[in-house]
């Protein structure tokens, strides 16, 4: 194990409490009074200063407003205000109707009915019905500042922070607001034998570029002076639409159980992120986004589907029945993923390599913080399954999904690395090799290092069995002092591979004759350093270490036999080993004075200069110049090239 992982191992400490302690705590709790505390409004106590200030304002308003009331009515509204303040837990129904104001199309646009329970302590719980069918359950949990929406139609759920608009959705607050502010009386009316007295208020509101009139009417039961019905309507100045919400069937003085306000999410419900992935894959013919960010997803969609209009059209055609529509689904997915990054330290999105046709590949997995939590796994066909960590690892091995195991290996605190290395070896995916090499270098235990080497060797054998004409080369690009070469490029006879951040790489190279040397070149683009190296399969070690070095420079002048400078002559560098030569693609031409200069000449191999006239390609002259040392400046003097 790595000593530097000691801090991570501390998380795995455990000491089981004895039965004696359990018994002592049981005794302690049993000695408590059985009845719960009085329903004290701790929130009120907490905000005592604010409450006092509010009370002073209300008192002042009451003093100012009371003389304006007519005769007995002032007492009536004072009573209504007092009653509204004392409302505890209550429930009511409300109906939302969108009415068209266009005389040509006077129909109702949409209608929705809801039943809402409000607790002064726990928050609110609302059920929304459309056409008698339950379409949504909403839980506003004030203490955890969360809004949880459960969508039974699509079996999805959404968690989001509780915003101000949801906090203010409590009719009790509106009644208090209206009675302590400006209002006009509506008089009396009788409904179903009940005498109601009402007040109303009209207010012009601005919302972005739109202005709308908000009209609130509150009817109180004359006997109890508690709200019996509230009607709020919003009429837009720019749209022919009126939005009316009616709140009635109030039931007061309820004892609502706290369990009612705890979100009830059945086990087979999925987060809306799955809905967003489904929408994206339907629009793109089975692909999943590269990242879970609403802007990136929308941009990727435009790139894949076409222009904005085509995207809108495609989204409309693929709207999830009863679910969340279009870009809203992406926003919800974004919010969900953001929550994962904050609350879960164990999750991974691997959608960029999976399509909907890969039921055995993991798109997304996550685990919420907490020891008893299991992993939620979304597969390529978007089915959601729950696994323990061990089960998920076994399942990934069984279906050959190396990416998940690699993801675990990269994040692991040392507990499962050897098991993961073993499984990655069994799967035989070459992409796992750089990570295995990195872990082999990072571990301090020889047995663990050996286990990583065995896994790499297993992968090598597996890959070479699949394609015997290619050899798998794994290694690392480092500087002389052993430091990594980040993202070095390694080129072996035209096969190019970019190393990872730590300089580790793996590549498959054509290799028919194991005795034949291959020329390779390592290049560090950030420092403009490079080097040449030779590799052949027969003496392949377990890894290849390549070191880029400072380039050398070669200068000279090409003349003819009379000593006159030859201009426009091709000058090219080749590498040589024994009889074998390789072109290095480093070339220039002589100037009018016959001079040439080649910078960035890699070291590490014997070189030869090839001089030739463009018009006499067959008469090229090869001049060996040997191997150069790093940063060497070589002036070759006059080189004679006969005409």
């Amino acid at each position: 194990m790595r000593t530097k992982d000691a801090d991570k191992w501390i998380k795995r400490l455990e000491a089981q409490p004895s039965d004696r302690l359990d018994g002592r705590i049981d005794d302690l709790l049993a000695s408590l009074p059985t009845a719960g505390p009085a329903r004290t409004r701790t929130r009120t106590v907490r905000n005592q200063t604010i409450q006092l200030a509010l009370a002073a304002v209300v008192l002042l308003l009451a003093v100012v407003a009371l003389p304006l009331f007519n005769g007995d009515n002032s007492n009536v509204w004072a009573q209504a205000l007092e009653n509204a303040r004392n409302i505890g837990d209550y429930a009511f129904h409300f109906t939302r109707v969108d009415k068209s104001l266009d005389p040509k199309h006077p129909e109702t646009v949409a209608q929705e009915t809801s039943v809402c329970h409000i607790s002064q302590e726990y928050g609110s719980y609302t059920e929304d019905y459309v056409g008698g069918e339950l379409v949504q359950k909403s839980y506003c949990i004030v203490d955890s500042n969360e809004l949880v929406r459960v969508l039974p139609r699509t079996k999805q759920y959404v968690r989001s922070p509780l915003t101000h608009s949801y906090r203010s959705g409590n009719p009790k607050e509106w009644v208090l607001g209206l009675l302590t502010g400006e209002y006009s009386e509506l008089g009396e009316k009788t409904v179903d034998g009940r005498v109601l007295v009402g007040i109303e208020n009209r207010r012009l509101r601005h919302c972005e570029s739109d202005r709308y009139m908000m009209h609130t009417k509150i009817w109180f039961d004359r006997t109890t002076m508690l709200p019996a019905s509230i009607e709020r309507s919003f009429t837009s100045n720019t749209q022919d639409l009126r939005h009316v919400t009616r709140y009635d069937q109030y039931r007061y003085d309820l004892e609502l159980a706290p369990e009612l306000f705890e979100p009830d999410i059945p086990g087979d419900y999925v987060p809306t992120i799955v809905g967003a992935l489904k929408l994206f894959s339907e629009l793109t013919g089975g692909e999943y986004p590269w990242s879970i960010h609403h802007g990136a997803m929308a941009g990727e969609l435009r790139h894949k589907v076409g222009d904005q209009a085509q995207v809108e059209k495609a989204i409309e055609a693929n709207t999830l029945a009863g679910g969340i529509y279009g870009y809203e689904a992406f926003h919800q997915a974004d919010a969900f993923y953001e929550r994962l990054t904050v609350e879960s330290h164990d999750f991974g999105y691997l959608g960029n390599r999976v399509t909907s046709g890969d039921p055995n590949r993991v798109v997304l997995y996550w685990k919420w913080t907490g020891p008893e939590q299991d992993y939620q796994v979304v597969w390529g066909d978007l089915r959601l399954e729950t696994f323990t960590r061990a089960q998920l690892i076994e399942r990934a091995r069984a279906v050959g999904d190396a990416a998940v195991l690699l993801d675990f290996l990269e994040k692991d605190d040392g507990a499962d690395v050897l098991l993961l290395a073993d499984y990655l070896g069994q799967i035989g995916d070459a992409s796992a090799v750089p990570a295995l090499l990195r872990h082999a270098d990072g571990t301090g235990a020889p047995s663990a290092r050996q286990a990583f080497r065995v896994a790499i060797e297993t992968i090598r054998r597996h890959q070479e069995q699949l394609d015997p004409s290619r050899a798998l080369i794994a290694g690392r690009a480092t500087y002389h002092n052993g430091r990594r070469v980040t993202h070095a490029s390694i080129d072996i006879e035209g096969q190019l591979q970019i190393a990872d951040r730590e300089g580790y790489f793996v590549m498959a190279v054509p290799c028919g004759d194991p005795h034949r040397y291959r020329l390779g070149r390592v290049y560090d683009s950030s420092r403009k350093q490079s080097n040449l190296f030779f590799w052949r399969k027969i003496d392949q070690r377990d890894r290849l270490t390549v070191v880029p070095d400072w380039p050398a420079a070669v200068r000279g002048r090409v003349v003819d036999r009379e000593g006159k400078p030859r201009h426009d002559v091709n000058v090219e560098l080749w590498a040589r080993r024994g009889e074998q030569v390789w072109p290095l693609k480093i070339r220039t031409k002589t100037d009018a004075d016959g001079r040439f200069a080649l910078d960035d000449v890699p070291c590490g191999a014997a070189l030869q200069l090839l001089l030739g006239c463009p018009e006499k390609a067959d008469n090229a002259v090869r001049m060996p110049i040997g191997a150069l040392t790093p940063d060497q400046q070589t002036d070759l003097g006059d080189l004679v090239l006969p005409r």
């Binding site: 000691a6 795995r12 455990e14 408590l32 203490d143 955890s144 706290p258 098991l419």
Partner: protein
């Protein structure tokens, strides 16, 4: 599902309101975590359990004085650390530091796949932790086992953040050097 997070929030809010019956659920949920932290701090099973008992006794006596604004686990572990520190200070004058690791039931939970190797490493880790000075051990445990931030640890210990960071760095260096020496 993220029920754990919700349950914590709901439990914390009930404790804040003075619902003492919620303490039973709190104990069932975090008994192992609390005893583990106390054991790792004090290296004495009986003393550790006394600390946990003391924490719960205070919670039951506190009337409506409980005020949990952070997460529930963090609050409880901080309470354990405070109580254990007081116990450690008061015991310092009377008894020499206990070094008998048999007096604690602390262990590192091994992975079934590499049980033998990890069990051995776990014992070394526990022995190394025991060799650390109390303040450094407390910072490391609160940071890694309790998941607390340096700012919170500094507030808990009544010192500055830089002192806490220094204790953390020295403690971790010492822990690593002890472990490297063992390996």
């Amino acid at each position: 599902m993220a029920t754990s997070h919700w349950q914590d929030k709901i439990l914390a809010s009930r404790l804040n309101r003075g619902h003492k019956e919620a303490l039973g659920r709190v104990y069932a949920r975090y008994r192992v975590d609390m005893v583990t932290l106390a054991s790792a701090l004090l290296f004495d099973k009986d003393q550790a359990e006394d600390v946990v008992h003391e924490v719960f006794a205070k919670l039951t006596q506190n009337g409506s004085g409980i005020r949990i604004t952070t997460n529930l686990r963090g609050y409880l572990l901080q309470a354990v650390a405070n109580t254990a520190r007081n116990d450690n200070r008061s015991a310092r004058g009377k008894v020499l530091a206990k070094t008998d690791s048999g007096a604690t039931n602390l262990r590192v939970v091994p992975n079934p796949a590499q049980q033998a190797m990890q069990a051995e490493y776990g014992e070394k880790l526990i022995a190394a932790l025991q060799q650390l000075p109390y303040d450094q051990r407390e910072v490391i445990l609160l940071r890694h086992y309790g998941g607390m931030r340096f700012k919170a640890i500094a507030k808990c210990q009544g010192t500055s953040i830089s002192t806490v960071q220094g204790r953390y760095r020295y403690g971790l260096d010492k822990l690593r050097s002890i472990l490297a020496g063992d390996l």
